[in-house]
Amino acid sequence: MLEIADIVTSYGKIEALKGVSLSVAPGEITCLLGPNGAGKTTTMMTVAGLLKPRRGSITFEDRNITGRDPGHIVRSGIALVPENRLVFPDMSVHDNLRTGAYSRSDNEIEDDIDRMFERFPRLDERQLQHAGTLSGGEQQMLAVARALMARPKLLLMDEPSLGLAPMIVEEIFRIIRDLNAEGTSIFLVEQNVHQALKVAHHFYLLEQGRVTFGGSPGDLEEDEVIQRAYLGSAETT
């Protein structure tokens, strides 16, 4: 569904991605694991069109989307749940959802908003409240709902569990599984290896801008995943 081939992305002189290749299969949850600074978020940003790769190609459903602008990528069916949620704090929950549908021009947007409120009753109760007054967990749900408003075929999620209490993390992962069961493909960046391996069909390890492993959760023991994922970071620190 999504094919990333040998992309190189850099900030100034520093190459954050040094030729990353991976693929996301339709209907699956694919996880990207790795230490801080390995380039996980950079990968997400590059797929979402916020960073332009210097080399390599990104294909989505057999169409080349390399270096296209974010609006085009959202319209082609990829939506991002950004790291740290980034909801619009002084806009109502309802308006936040409308921004998620910005790339759409059909007239079913309000229906979809109603559907989001059915799925996330806690948001329904807070429809007219400003998003900035929601708790961290509620904001994360809003960020997910907002991304879903674009009717994506592929949902990119960047560290959805970051900074959330364990119980909320459980709930977020339950939502991820539900969404996937309904047919949305998910590409997930996580630092919570334990939870990520529980939901993933497929996972990759990213270390220092390179993919060092790709396989299914059964292929490696969880301890070994953690060891291998973080060994690289031990050398740089």
Partner: protein, 307 residues
């Protein structure tokens, strides 16, 4: 030296004071659009002291600095709560109020049969101290650059001492400064007062070289220019704002064919420069690198790869 060169050099020196004044406030995190008020207060106060009350310039100068410094500290205390653009606009409002009040005020006394003193938009004339004491423009040149040298030396010492890092910390993150035990209120008022006194030095010299000053000399153009000098020259060192003055007054003044299009040229130069160097030519990073090189160190100054 021919007279034109001396005039240009005097202007560079005079504007350097107000540029340093705006720079000092920039370090403490405040954008002031109102330093011209203290330049003006310095000019008027020193001019009134010498022309109306017959004081020597060397007494009038510190007195004018004191007056401007106190006024600036008072404004600083009143505007303590304000940040960013709010502070900038408040200082602008203050400066324009002062300027317009000078336009509306006439107060003249009789000196040797002539009325002397502020006369509304006609300004304050007859500041003859330099003339009476047979000071030539070149003498003022030495006085200006002597004072500028002292001020710069004080700036360098400040940057070396903790005072400099305190001011920069307040500028970068006020809450952090508070949790480091820094009494932000006190330092903010101190910095405002010092900046006001600094601008007054420039104003005093300006008044005594020009012999007549008008309220319109101290309009917002002067204030924003002084701010621009720091931003062009760079926020990493006190040399930055002076470099900015040099570029404007020195370079553009010197290039003949720019005359008549000077504002277009300077405006364009500033706009383009700020695109590529938003913190000026000598910004913190370049100054830091330069210092390391001077000390013969060249270690890993970049952290590992960013995120």
């Amino acid at each position: 030296m021919d007279d034109h060169v001396i005039t240009v050099l005097n202007n560079i020196g005079g504007f350097s004071f107000i540029a340093l004044s705006a720079y000092l406030l920039l370090l403490s995190g405040e954008i002031s659009f109102g330093q011209q008020a203290f330049f003006g207060i310095g000019a008027y106060a020193s001019g009134m002291f010498t022309a109306m009350f017959g004081l020597s310039f060397w007494i009038a100068l510190p007195l004018a600095m004191l007056v401007a410094g106190l006024a600036a500290a008072a404004v600083g205390a009143l505007t303590l709560r304000l940040r960013g653009l709010y502070f900038a606009i408040a200082t602008l409002a203050f400066a324009e109020t002062i300027r317009l009040i000078l336009v509306a005020t006439t107060w003249q006394v009789d000196v040797d049969g002539e009325p002397v003193g502020p006369n509304g938009s006609e300004g304050l004339g007859n500041i003859r101290w330099g003339f009476d004491n047979e000071y030539a423009p070149v003498d003022f040149l030495w006085m200006i650059y002597g004072s500028l040298g002292i001020v710069l030396l004080l700036f360098f010492l400040m940057e070396r001492s903790r005072l400099g890092s305190i001011v920069r910390t307040i500028g970068a993150d006020r809450l952090l400064a508070e949790t480091q035990g820094i009494n932000v209120t006190r330092y903010k008022i101190l910095v405002a007062g010092l900046a006001g006194a600094l601008a007054a030095i420039g104003g005093a010299f300006y008044a005594h070289i020009q012999t007549t000053v008008y309220p319109e000399n101290f309009d917002v153009m002067l204030g924003v220019h002084s701010l621009a000098y720091g931003l062009i020259g760079g926020l990493g060192t006190a040399v930055g704002p002076i470099l900015g003055v040099l570029l404007d007054v020195g370079f553009l003044e010197a290039v003949e064919w720019i005359q008549g299009y000077r504002m277009i040229a300077f405006g364009g130069l500033v706009a383009v420069l700020l695109i590529f160097m938003p913190r000026g030519i000598l910004d913190e990073r370049r100054v830091h690198l330069l210092r390391l090189m001077l000390r013969g160190r060249r270690p890993d100054i970049h952290g590992a790869a960013g995120h």
